[in-house]
């Protein structure tokens, strides 16, 4: 009985950690610009797919990861430079729609370059799974959790301890005032898009051995990540992680104890209930105070 529960928990935590990593990318861009970057899922795809191609060319794993992340960083900057910056006078809704367009463009490009098929990536550790109290867990899940933890920590430090992080927050709160204080807001925005792309690519690479990867993997993971970010409270790093884990565990528990047919329904019910009672999400209140 307990082993069963533990198994559902592990499978929930694995999916949840993935959602959490995607949600963190949303958080970053949102914090800088109040824009919800719907191309976030596509950076996951780019990270995973380019690592797979580099591995196939014989590049060793750590180098392949570094190169894929670098590619995503360049694309993140390009996204800002070519699509967001020219529309800097437009309001947030317009910018959000631009990111949707960019995501469709990136997906189409990936389809041409990599084709439509699914690809596999080997896990990072030799052992595929570990056995804990009668339940099994992918060793890759531990990697996902560890990377998610480190990312949250780094982001928290970045926003509270560094000038650049504070500049990003300042830009988000009042772009006009930030500019008067000598912050180059367009540069700050570009930085946020680049960091979000790096985060997305890292997430995409970490989860690829578990979920497999394809040109359109970003759609579903991107949406679920957005949902996780909304549950946790847009703009909160801790919220993104808690939201992601909550969503993943809710899905797995529903599939396990109620019915797999209602898995998605329960996840969405969760969002409705949480946002009804806490419109800013679980951890969103602090952002509201800051404003």
């Amino acid at each position: 009985m307990f082993a069963e529960f533990l198994q559902y928990l592990f499978s929930g935590v694995t999916i949840g950690a993935t959602y959490a990593l995607v949600a963190l990318g949303f958080t970053l861009v949102y914090n800088a610009s109040h824009v919800i970057n719907f191309a976030q899922g596509e950076f996951l795809m780019i990270g995973g797919m380019s690592t797979v191609s580099l591995l196939a060319m014989g590049v060793p794993l750590p180098l392949a990861i570094a190169m894929a992340v670098a590619l995503a960083a360049v694309l993140g900057m390009a996204l800002h430079k070519l699509a967001i910056a020219p529309a800097r006078k437009a309001d947030v809704i317009t910018l959000i729609i631009i990111t949707i367009g960019a995501s469709i463009f990136l997906r189409g490009l990936a389809q041409i370059i990599w084709g439509k098929e699914f690809h596999t990536m080997p896990g990072f550790s030799a052992a595929e799974s570990v056995n804990v109290l009668g339940a099994v867990m992918y060793t890759q899940s531990l990697w996902v959790l560890a990377v998610a933890g480190v990312m949250v920590l780094l982001l928290a430090l970045f926003f509270t301890r560094t000038l650049m992080g504070k500049a990003i927050l300042a830009t988000s709160m009042n772009p006009g005032a930030a500019r008067l204080m000598g912050i180059r807001t367009q540069f700050v925005l570009m930085l946020a898009f680049m960091l979000a792309a790096v985060l997305g690519a890292m997430a995409g690479i970490m989860v690829a051995p578990i979920t497999l990867t394809a040109y359109d993997i970003g759609i579903m993971l991107g949406l679920k990540g957005f949902v996780a970010a909304a549950i946790g409270g847009m703009g909160s790093g801790v919220g993104a992680v808690v939201g992601g884990l909550l969503l993943g565990i809710a899905e797995a528990m529903t599939a396990g104890y109620i019915s797999s047919d209602y898995k998605d329904a329960v996840a969405f019910l969760l969002i409705l209930v949480i946002l009804f009672f806490m419109p800013r999400g679980l951890f969103g209140a602090r952002v509201a105070e800051r404003v």
Binding site: E4, S11, F118, T120, Y138, I210, S260
Partner: protein, 386 residues
């Protein structure tokens, strides 16, 4: 002077016209217009892509060899992207503006069923490349199909389970059209084989982890084997999760994953998995007296040489559809739709890539469950079990 000048000009014109008039019937007979409705992009692209490539390849080859009844084939093809609305629009275009003699398609049950009402109204034969039973049962006069139905796949798997003495199984299926229909057929025929479906789980086509569903099946008392009905990457993930959880029960997949792609995606987790599949997957393992051996080997060689990629079962459906159409037009000696339709119905012992077709007025598929070969994965290779 003026009339004299005009005379040679008129003579030349006359000669040109005469020569042209003489050459036209010999050089370019009115082409046979074949319409194709495929899902070459979108979620069903793994079906439509090899299907379109197969049609293009064989239309080229047939034309190079002189065409059919002395007329070349002309292929009109549209990509519906797996969308039923698009399929309906394109079927309309094929029938009205391209005025095709028959249609091959669609790739999925949804796109086929969207085109069927238009095709019936226009009175043109359609040969579908989609699996579900509803396409040919009840029989519609103008509608034919080349793949085995999902019920046959379920029957093939259940019969093998029965042979192993299995009486209780767990079923896990995708919530897409293919998985849903397969689930219904499996539930409908399981009792005929003395098998009870004790656990019935589903997963979404985009899901990335099915361990919760599998854990539940494993913990259901009486389950002696697990059957996964689905296509795409879902079954590959189910297979990986199955191995990850260390479930020891016999594991069956459907024909939806019968391609080498599945072996790549599932990796070592696929070891021991059994599934019903077309002979195309094991062309060299077939005994020499198997009538399909030659057809299958030829198709595989031609496709791989032309496109430089491995064949898939789905391309085989398109091959069979085109060859059935060609056989029917040859038998009828004309492209008159009524004559072609009855010729299709009278096709007997037509050896194709998918199986041997024996059409009749009440069977517009013409395949027996035996056309599915039961395969098992051993050492990363397909092995013929039965």
């Amino acid at each position: 002077m003026v009339t004299k000048n005009r005379c040679p000009y008129r003579a030349v014109l006359l000669i040109v016209l005469l020569v042209c008039g003489m050459m036209t019937p010999a050089m370019a007979a009115e082409p046979i217009r074949i319409g194709a409705l495929v899902s070459a992009t979108g979620p069903a692209s793994f079906l439509g892509d090899p299907e379109l490539k197969t049609l293009e390849l064989y239309v080229e080859r047939i034309n190079a060899a002189g065409g059919v009844i002395g007329r070349p084939l002309r292929l009109f093809h549209y990509d519906d992207g797996g969308n039923a609305n698009e399929a309906r629009n394109f079927a309309n275009r094929l029938l009205r503006s391209d005025r095709v003699d028959l249609i091959i398609g669609g790739s999925t049950t949804g796109t086929t069923m969207a085109a069927v009402p238009l095709v019936e109204r226009a009175g043109r034969p359609i040969i579908s490349m989609a699996g579900a039973l509803v396409i040919t049962e009840p029989v519609r006069p103008w509608v034919f199909k080349t793949p085995q139905s999902d019920r046959m796949a379920a029957e093939r798997v259940l019969a093998d389970m029965q042979g192993r003495g299995i009486t209780g199984i767990g079923l896990i299926s995708g919530t897409d059209g293919f998985g849903r229909s397969g689930r219904e057929q499996t539930l409908a025929v399981a009792a005929d084989f003395g098998i009870q479906v004790l656990a019935d789980q589903t997963y979404g086509p985009q899901d990335t982890d099915m361990t919760a569903q599998l854990t539940r099946i494993r913990n259901t008392p009486g389950v002696q084997a697990v059957f996964n009905f689905g296509f795409g990457q879902g079954p590959a993930i189910v297979t990986r999760n199955y191995a990850h959880l260390g479930i020891e029960l016999p594991f069956y997949q459907s024909h939806g994953v019968a391609s080498d792609r599945f072996l790549d995606l599932a990796g070592s987790a696929a070891e021991g998995v059994r599934l019903p599949a077309s002979a195309l997957l094991v062309p060299d393992a077939l005994p020499d007296d198997d009538p399909q051996k030659q057809v299958v080997q030829d198709y595989k060689a031609a496709y791989e040489a032309r496109w430089n990629m491995s064949v898939s079962t789905f391309g085989g459906y398109a091959y069979d559809a085109l060859m059935l159409a060609v056989a029917a037009i040859e038998a009828a000696g004309t492209t008159d739709p009524d004559a072609v339709r009855s010729a299709l119905e009278q096709i007997r012992d037509h050896v194709g890539v998918t199986g041997t077709f024996n059409m009749s007025a009440d069977d517009h598929n013409g395949l027996a469950p035996e056309s599915f070969r039961l395969l098992e994965v051993r050492d990363g290779q397909w092995v013929l079990v039965d």
